[in-house]
Symmetry: C3
């Protein structure tokens, strides 16, 4: 918990510039969510400028939610520029498995860009792990017997940290596993809550050297803010969205301390 | 009214996947509105994937609000794939008549794709009917003497169901006409309320075999939720939008029963 | 103040059609904000239709927030069509200086299109003035010793009116300078508040012949509405955004009169 407090303070004191190459459904919500936590969002997608923007950013978020060919080429350019500049790249494989194009795009990006973390729902992570789950649209919750195994497999294969969100979130670098049971069901009723989390992971990861720890803090912070928002608003998605943005901005370290439910499992557990 | 209840239940029990190819002003609001009614939105626009996505979807929504050439080609591909797969296609001719490009695009799409329903405001429907109304921008309310005639003409010409929204909404398959007098003037103060209705029609149509009946239920449900939202919120567009999303999620069958104002006119009335 | 009242009345009585070519982060918020003040937004970006749309519009807003090559070409076409038709063009140089592409795009547009006004933050205006400020991302507040000088230099160089927003807003045509100290810090926590102001300037400018006066009215109106919204909402960005849209719609001339803080400085002051 002290770590979460420290990262929040660092973000607020020196707002990280988070370069988002994301889908056109969530640009506004992602930008507003990043401002709310104290970060500074920027969106840029043109091949003519993404390398320059990614290199000056503190984190690069790549999200394939409404991908197009020109955007994918630009994502690879931006990702490689980020890699060269040491800017951490966070990847959100929205709807991988739903179409061949999405699956191929993930391979194309992940084979060319080294990513610090991958954030996806259980269906997406299962597909990246090569499991034969059915993904329909972009909201796939695979009912995996051992969800941690899929997350660990993906983390190992891509040498990255995996944030797999669901009823219980799993964060793993392939060895250590941290689980988080924060969050609220209304998150699944508001578009972009997963995508914004990916961006928040970016803001946290660039402020702490240990990607696994930083990601876990981001996930728990985010889920706790959602819980607090749900407790204050009418149980409906319009109000929830407003209160959620408010709580990303307002929630105190004390409230977080009371809410956060993180659990660490060492290898072999 | 029983039919509306039945369709709502079907949507909530087995969320329809609604593939939206829509304009970039309303993607977020459309996705959130679809989640609120219990449906599952997906946005995909790339020619490389739209056929696969449309074929797996339960409904395809095509909206030309901010059309570009690549998107139009992809819309035709998606629409034809939907036709082959038996996925109903709902079409929103945003701003037809405002520019030659929009008018030509409508012809191009409607001559290649069989649409289950067309949803537009009175100016747009009048233009599709070939009437010499002036359309300026995308909010055109033609003052038609006999609005039903325009709607019926379009329905007959394109062998489809027409949902023409305005102070009184007209739903017709060219023979039967159903009118709906639900709704609230604040809807005209929030962008995308027409576009979201088009998407909601999609969610309803795929859950009931009679497109006319399903469309009428969607329109009345939507207008009643708007009325209820307006009654609960400050009479201003920011609050209204929040409450509207809430009511799309919260409104009960009982509230709907009290509010819904549908009227059926048989041919010859 | 009488002028502000007059312009508001003109907008509400005959809603100006504001053609927005803007970035995909703020399309929804811009459209909703324009509806809230009584204007009629339209978004159109395709080269096939922008000339026709710009020529029929009452104002054209060009905003390079998420520029791409096809959009830039279309912006030039639209801007030139607007110039020919006498439609005022308002330009928002989002992030100029952050990448070479943005800087070159500004030059390209400003050398081909005559703009009635440029609206930017202090970092952007300083860059347009050729000052060596560092712009990182799209939220740059340059700490200029004499901010008015930069604004005046840009106004003179491009023979236009400059609206430079910051803690104190500066509006100048290169000779006269008007300052405005309305506004609230929460505006910087909501994405698109600058972009929407640019669009509101467009709605005001097309209703009054003196661009400097109209722009000053737009800026003061906008800042006063933000203050009023902040006074009514929880001090957090989600609630603020909702109340801000409400107040753009609801605020009375009396409330404006009490809040507006405009100051005119003549040349030589």
């Amino acid at each position: 918990m002290q770590l979460m407090t420290d990262i929040r303070k660092k973000i607020q004191e020196q707002p990280p510039l988070v370069h988002n190459m994301t889908n056109d459904v969530v640009t506004n919500f992602s930008a507003n969510g990043l401002y709310a936590i104290g970060a500074q969002p920027v969106m840029a997608n043109a091949k003519e400028e993404v390398q320059e923007m990614a290199a000056q950013a503190d984190a690069l978020v790549i999200n394939i939610g409404t991908l197009t060919e020109p955007q994918i080429s630009a994502m690879v350019l931006a990702g490689q520029a980020a890699n060269e500049a040491g800017t951490p790249v966070i990847f959100d494989p929205v709807g991988v498995g739903a179409t061949a194009f999405r699956t191929e795009t993930c391979e194309r990006i992940l084979s060319r860009v080294k990513v610090a973390a991958i954030r996806g729902n259980s269906g997406e992570i299962a597909r990246l792990a090569g499991l034969p789950v059915v993904v329909r649209g972009v909201d796939s919750d695979a009912e995996l017997e051992k969800p941690e195994l899929a997350a660990k497999a993906v983390a190992e294969h891509f040498q990255t940290t995996v944030v797999m969100t669901g009823e219980t979130d799993v964060i793993t670098d392939g060895k250590k596993v941290i689980t988080c049971s924060n969050g609220h069901m209304l998150q699944s009723k508001v578009t972009g809550t997963g995508c914004l989390l990916t961006a928040v992971v970016g803001a946290y990861v660039c402020k702490h050297h240990d990607v696994l720890e930083a990601s876990a803090c981001a996930v728990a912070f985010y889920g706790a803010a959602a819980e607090q928002a749900a407790s204050l608003s009418e149980p409906a998605p319009g109000s929830f969205q407003v209160h959620f943005l408010d709580q990303l901005y307002l929630i105190t370290d004390e409230d977080l301390q009371q809410r956060v439910k993180l659990q660490t499992k060492e290898e072999g557990d």
